[in-house]
């Protein structure tokens, strides 16, 4: 069965410090992974997806199939990065459904 685990419910770093939000997954097939973000009083929205190999707002995420991880990283955190972050994978076989992790609340301290 597919599963996404985000081990940290809360993460607090200082502005300018590097940040890494952890995500591990279990999936029998070849996964496609996403990071979604929810800023305060805003909707859940896509931050980045693995297949696009993109960097959005300074964030990157590398898929490590050996470690079954898709950690989200940013070298220098900014206060506006404070938000709730969800890692998700999409099931490619059958119905294409998103499976979400529990989320990590990131707080950037000034």
């Amino acid at each position: 069965a597919q599963r996404v685990t985000q081990p940290e419910k809360l993460l607090s770093v200082f502005k300018g410090a590097p940040v890494e939000l952890k995500c591990n997954y279990s999936y029998s097939g070849s996964p496609e992974l996403f990071w979604y973000v929810q800023y305060s009083r805003q909707r859940l929205q896509l931050l980045l997806r693995h297949i696009s190999r993109e960097s959005i707002k300074g964030f990157t995420a590398d898929l490590n199939k050996g470690e079954t991880s898709f950690h989200l990283k940013k070298p220098f955190a900014q206060e506006e990065d404070s938000a709730m972050y969800y890692c998700a994978l999409i099931t490619v076989q059958g119905a294409q459904k998103l499976v979400f992790g529990q989320g990590t609340r990131l707080t950037i301290n000034p």
């Binding site: 419910k9 909707r43 979400f100």
Partner: protein, 114 residues
């Protein structure tokens, strides 16, 4: 403007009442989804649809039902609300073509059943 709408945003209701949570989108998307999210927990898919007259149950068992009579409309109904139904309900949509398409989310309905 292309968007996805949910009404009501907040609902407090007594046990046993029938409720319908509305979701409409003007994105032109075929796929629509309902997720349930308890505070501090992950989102769980409870229903999805690939188009008109298509509805499927998601991974999380739910006593709610859905219908898809029009492409843009995907309402969720609880025939008899119970306190265990208290949660946030998120509606989302995505294009039919392509596997890795972004899902666009509505603002959510926070339901409290007393």
């Amino acid at each position: 403007e292309a968007d996805i709408y949910q009404t009501p945003r907040y609902l407090v209701i007594g046990t046993g009442k029938k409720i319908t949570l509305e979701c409409s989108q003007t994105m032109g998307h075929d796929k629509m989804y309902w997720y349930q999210q308890d505070p501090g927990m992950e989102l769980h898919l409870i229903h999805y649809s690939y188009g008109v007259n298509s509805t499927e149950k998601g991974d999380l068992s739910s006593e709610s039902t859905v219908s898809r009579i029009r492409t843009e409309h995907f309402p969720l109904t609880l025939e008899s609300a119970r306190p265990s139904h208290t949660s946030q309900y998120l509606c989302a949509s995505s294009p039919l073509a392509g596997v890795y398409n972004e899902q666009f989310f509505g603002p959510g309905t926070r339901l409290t059943v007393l």
